[in-house]
């Protein structure tokens, strides 16, 4: 499954919320195919009896008390980078 098609690239771009130009489609198709081909060498590796590792230092379920703590940034600081703000909230374009 390593050779991607033009449609695969368009689908991945759409899933990733990336628009790709006509020139980029073929470029990404060949580059991504090459990368996937490289990583497919793992198919041949014998991993019988092994479990996947998701955390390397052995920590599990790090909890903290569910309480409100003071935070250095103020709401206005957190909004200052937004492209559009209204009534102290992020303003986005219409959804529908």
């Amino acid at each position: 499954m390593s050779k991607l098609t033009r449609d695969d690239v368009l689908k991945l771009a759409r899933l990733s919320r990336l628009r790709v130009s006509e020139d980029e489609i073929e470029k990404f198709r060949s580059e991504l195919s090459e990368i996937l081909e490289y990583v497919q060498q793992l198919d041949a590796v014998d991993t019988a009896g092994l479990e996947p590792t998701y955390q390397v230092t052995g920590l599990t379920n790090v909890d903290r008390a569910d309480e409100i703590k003071a935070y250095s940034a103020k709401p206005a600081d957190l909004l200052k980078n937004a492209p559009a703000v209204k009534d102290g909230q992020f303003k986005v374009k219409r959804v529908l």
């Binding site: 990733s16 990368i35 793992l42 590796v45 092994l50 996947p52 390397v56 790090v62 937004a82 219409r94």
Partner: protein, 472 residues
């Protein structure tokens, strides 16, 4: 320009012999003078000078100003800092002013260090040369036609050019060690979780670590000592060593050192091999028991990495959607188009490649074949490290198979660029600490020796580095 050791600078500030303001000015002047190298994205002049004045004031009042009093430093521009912009060298974050600061910088500043500038990197730390920076490419201090390595190429070049006594980098697949090797600096990648990543822009969360770039091991160890330890803002942080990371002395005599067979294999540049072999000879002459050791799965680490890393990148970069911060495409008609256009225009080619690969390997139907398989091979690699460290104190090899390459040489071939990390990624996959030290030169360019330690043996590893430094 050269700086005294960090501990000496801080001591002279604390006694009032030198002034923090002068040190900051000295650093800012050096930055201005070295502009041609393009190591720096922005300087924090006002904030830095204000902080320096406060430190000098404190000393005048007879109060201690900290273990890093008045020491200027440079942070990779993926560390959130107050008083300027944090861009990750990306167009999508070009206008971003962080509302808070990374824990690492808070801790360094609490001990009197002063962040003077932000350094260039491959955008979002995706790369091995700084050529993926959306702004400009940093030049190697030894040869302006070559790359400094990456992604912490700006930080590394800055330290080697003497722009500040130390700099901060991040290492997800080799991004501290590979540039340290290419530029002749000391670069330290701690055990996963030893230093809080709160306020450092996430790349691949299961392998990301942050660490120092410096001109000697003492400096790197002191900076690590100040930064490390649990942080409630980063739940992956681990307990630190009770003792200082900066003061352990280690005798190499009788230490068991394994030369990683797979790291000395074909593909290694002859000049690099010569330098590493002579470094290994020095270790033997100092009384270390040096033997070859095989970790047969290590060559698979890069393939594991290029599944896990893009998978995590695709999740971590989902937040850049043009709505709450960062670049937003003004012409979008609705929300969905705003996401697509902001990301299309704001992300560079490498970020897009990684997002799409990550989306692919995580998508239903491919998840088991790629992501789960990679995480299982990861276990195999970890097991081989664990076995090796039952018999050896440290593992050694080169940091990179080549010396610094020419600007433009690999930028059109993403896979070729990825292969730069072939000798560094395994320590990220397994979470082991690893240190790169200048070991000599080939073709007039630096070659870095890589020493890998057992997980959580950071203190011993730094001590071994110091011992090697004394031999060289």
């Amino acid at each position: 320009m050269t700086w005294p050791k960090i501990a000496d600078i801080a001591a002279s500030v604390n006694t009032g012999e030198s002034s923090a303001v002068d040190l900051v000015k000295k650093s800012l002047q050096a930055i201005e003078k070295a502009k041609d190298y393009q190591a720096i994205i922005s300087t924090l002049d006002d904030r830095a000078l204000d902080r320096a004045k406060q430190i000098d004031q404190k000393v005048k009042q007879g109060k201690p100003a900290g273990r890093l009093a008045g020491v200027p430093f440079i942070a990779k521009d993926n560390y959130l800092t107050l008083g300027g912009k944090t861009t990750a060298a990306s167009n999508i974050l070009k206008p971003f002013e962080s509302p808070y600061q990374s824990t690492a910088i808070e801790r360094l500043e609490a001990e009197g260090a002063i962040c003077v500038a932000k350094a260039n990197l491959d955008a979002f730390a995706h790369g091995s040369s700084t050529e993926n920076s959306d702004f400009f490419t940093t030049k190697n201090p030894y040869d302006k036609t070559r790359v400094p390595g990456g992604s912490s190429g700006g930080s590394t070049a800055a330290v080697v050019l003497g722009l500040a006594p130390f700099a901060l980098g991040t290492d997800t697949g080799g991004s501290i060690r590979q540039p340290a090797g290419f530029c002749g600096a000391v670069g330290f990648k701690p055990t996963y979780g030893l230093v809080s990543r709160s306020g450092v822009i996430a790349m691949a969360s299961s392998t990301d670590v942050i660490g120092p770039l410096a001109n000697n091991v003492d400096d790197a160890a002191l900076v690590l000592d100040v930064m490390s330890g649990p942080d409630e803002l980063d739940s992956t942080t681990i307990e630190r060593d009770k003792q200082s990371y900066a003061d352990l002395k280690l005798n190499l005599k009788g230490k068991k050192i394994g030369i990683v067979k797979e790291y000395m294999a074909e593909g290694l540049e002859p000049g690099v091999r010569d330098v590493i072999e002579s470094a290994i000879d020095k270790l033997s002459q100092a009384g270390a028991e040096v033997n070859e050791v095989s970790l047969p799965s290590l060559p698979l680490a890069l393939a594991v990495y290029y599944i896990i890393c893009p998978a995590e990148v695709s999740s971590n970069l989902a937040r850049y959607d043009g709505q709450r911060f960062g670049y937003s495409a003004a012409e979008a008609k609705d929300l969905d188009e705003s996401y697509e256009l902001s990301r299309e225009q704001g992300f560079g080619a490498e970020a897009k490649r990684r997002i799409m690969i990550g989306t692919y390997v995580l998508s239903s139907g491919y998840y088991d074949a790629y992501y789960k398989k990679a995480q299982t091979v990861r276990t195999k690699i970890i097991n081989e490290f664990k076995t090796a460290f039952k018999s050896y104190d440290f593992l050694v090899g080169p940091t990179s198979p080549t010396v610094a390459f020419k600007i433009g040489e690999k930028i059109d071939d993403p896979l070729k660029m990825y292969l730069n990390d072939i000798l560094t990624v395994a320590a990220n996959i397994s979470g082991n600490p690893a240190l790169t030290l200048p070991a000599g030169k080939s073709q007039g360019l630096p070659v870095g020796l890589q020493i890998i330690g057992a997980q959580k043996d950071d203190r011993e590893l730094l001590a071994a580095g110091r011992a090697f430094e004394e031999l060289a």
